[in-house]
């Protein structure tokens, strides 16, 4: 179902605009967003757009790197590490700024990067099976991080517990523009690297041997891709928590629509992610109000997991060619 990239971009830009306007009009739990649009609505909308775009691009990069549509920041332990770093910071110092540095973001990036390094080292020690080992090591690190986060939850005070739990379910609730600026800076830097490496991503997806023989410095490119995809994931996780499946589903669908060439795929992922996550946010924050008239907001991560999981299962069952890639 390949479409001309320019047609797809126009459609996705229109979708982004429609979702943005819809989000402002619908508001939250019956209250219009225009009342506090500067403090609440606009930062939330922008954060969700940046987060969606970043998760989709990070997912596309990991899928190319591992030549596997199941690879994503979550299956490789990157977001688990980032989550642990962020949770540990919320638990110990409660977040905020430390000498002007956004400490949760830094801890999330540090946690993600440490996990990447552990996963990479474990896989490196077992040469010859590097990709399978990387995925297995990533899943294992994810389990360990989850266990440590569970321990933190057990030890946390009532106030911190609620804060960490809400954050862990993936929430885009935010006040003011500071989180938006922080995420945007981290994501922009990493996105630049992704665009610079678009041909390396294509060739790595064709196989490491092919990539090396065409002139790709496989080790160097792989490290840069790891670093920038981790940075992007951390930029999102620090403020929104682990929002699952966006990084898996969006690049998967976009590859189906515009093809696997990253020159077309990466911009499509940016736009599709920036439309998909705000849409999920509108639905999640109003679901309880529409269904039971309760003024409570469902964390967006719950919705993306539910929708994304079902959709992925549907893809696995119905699309023959994709099944063979797994």
């Amino acid at each position: 179902m390949l479409r001309r990239p320019s047609v797809v971009y126009v459609a996705l830009i229109a979708a982004c605009g429609a979702v943005a306007i819809g989000s402002m009009l619908v508001g939250t739990c019956g209250e219009s967003f225009f009342a506090a649009w500067q403090e609440l609505a606009l930062p939330r909308l922008l954060l969700s757009m940046i987060s969606g775009a970043a998760l989709a691009v990070a997912g596309a990069m990991f899928q190319a790197l591992f030549r596997n549509p199941l690879a994503s920041p979550y299956t490789l332990g990157v977001s688990s590490g980032a989550s642990l770093g962020a949770a540990l910071t919320i638990f110990t110092v409660g977040g905020g700024l430390w000498h002007g540095i956004p400490i949760v973001s830094v801890a999330a990036f540090g946690g993600g990067l440490i996990c990447v390094m552990i996963v990479y080292t474990v896989a490196h020690l077992r040469q010859g099976r590097s990709i399978a080992m990387l995925l297995l090591a990533g899943v294992t690190i994810g389990f360990i991080c989850s266990a440590l986060i569970a321990m933190l939850l057990y030890l946390a005070q009532q106030h911190d517990l609620r804060h960490i739990l809400q954050w862990m379910m993936g929430s885009l609730e935010t006040v003011g523009f500071d989180p938006v600026y922080e995420s945007a800076a981290m994501v922009a830097l990493a996105m630049g690297v992704a665009i610079y490496l678009h041909r390396d991503l294509d060739l790595l997806m064709m196989g490491e041997l092919v990539a090396a023989s065409r002139g790709v410095s496989v080790k160097g490119s792989r490290r840069l891709i790891y670093f920038s995809a981790s940075l992007m994931t951390a930029g999102v996780v620090a403020h929104s928590g682990p929002i699952v499946f966006v990084g898996l589903i969006v690049p998967h669908i976009m590859r189906f629509v515009v093809g696997p060439i990253h020159r077309h795929l990466l911009p499509a992922c940016v736009l599709a992610g920036a439309a998909f996550l705000p849409l999920c946010d509108v639905l999640a924050r109003n679901a309880m109000w529409w269904l039971r008239e309760e003024p409570r907001q469902l964390p967006v991560g719950v919705l993306t997991s539910l929708v994304g999981g079902c959709f992925f299962l549907y893809l696995l069952l119905t699309r023959r060619e994709e099944r063979t890639l797994v």
Binding site: L209, G215, S217, G259, I261
Partner: protein, 261 residues
């Protein structure tokens, strides 16, 4: 381009796979590498390209390979490996265009420079795949795919081609087509190093034959050596039968025991 290997030794998982191999391939020469399964042919080729760690010295035009970046190596040698890991929805056009990686800046478009479009067009013409350009690679037959990978290597416009068993598992028509493309590239002054599972490919290409056994050079002689069935028997531990016509050696194959009726 001159390719030199001096005392090349490769050890993998504690086992010596390539043992003290030395040779020199002159510019424009065609060399076939033959030998039994597990003799170290593919490992030798990977070591020559600097893709795996090796002891000894490899030089491309007198320049040690470890002093060259991957991009610089790719501008000198184009490589078609034996196994391609996956296609994942790429079109033929994408695969051939990716052959230009070593010549293009990261943010440069291929369409803006005639050098790139000409290189791609001539590779597509040489391999006769213009009708396949918009097809997905995973919908092609094995023979068509091999032509696509060869076109990608030709689009690289490197003076040397390394091909690892290019005709294995192909039907006779595609084998003949691949031989035609390789002979044509020799006419355009490519240096060719080809791993030949099929000895008939070495006969068709002519030039020189390097035989490997247990990782070491067993013999390194002009391609006429294939007429010597004693040497082939010593190399492969089996009997061979030759087919000739007025023009010389036509084909060679292992002598099979005929099944009694």
């Amino acid at each position: 381009m001159v390719v030199e290997a001096n005392h090349l030794t490769v050890t993998r998982l504690g086992r010596v796979v390539v043992r003290d191999v030395s040779f020199r391939i002159e510019a424009g020469q065609c060399v076939s590498v033959i030998g039994p399964n597990g003799a170290g042919k593919s490992t030798l080729m990977a070591a020559l390209l600097g893709l795996i760690p090796a002891q000894g010295d490899v030089r491309l035009d007198s320049k040690p390979i470890h002093q060259l970046s991957r991009r610089q190596i790719a501008r000198r040698v184009a490589y078609v490996p034996q196994i391609h890991e996956g296609y994942l929805g790429f079109r033929v056009r994408d695969v051939v265009e990716a052959g230009r990686y070593a010549h293009v800046d990261p943010l440069e478009s291929l369409q803006t420079d005639e050098r790139h479009t000409q290189a791609i067009d001539s590779a597509v013409k040489a391999c006769r795949i213009s009708s396949l350009l918009d097809r997905r690679v995973d919908t092609l037959s094995g023979g068509e795919r091999q032509k696509v990978w060869l076109a990608a290597a030709l689009a690289q416009q490197s003076p040397t081609l390394f091909l690892d068993e290019p005709t294995t598992a192909l039907d006779p028509a595609h084998q003949a087509e691949l031989v035609r493309i390789m002979q044509q590239s020799l006419q355009t002054e490519h240096t060719l190093l080809v791993i030949c599972h099929d000895l008939n490919l070495a006969i068709a290409l002519g030039g020189r034959v390097i035989a490997l056994r247990d990782g070491a050079v067993f013999f390194d002689e002009p391609a006429d050596v294939i007429e010597d069935t004693d040497r082939l028997r010593q190399l492969f531990d089996t009997e061979f039968v030759l087919y000739r016509d007025g023009g010389g050696l036509l084909a060679v194959q292992p002598r099979f025991q005929r099944r009694s009726p």
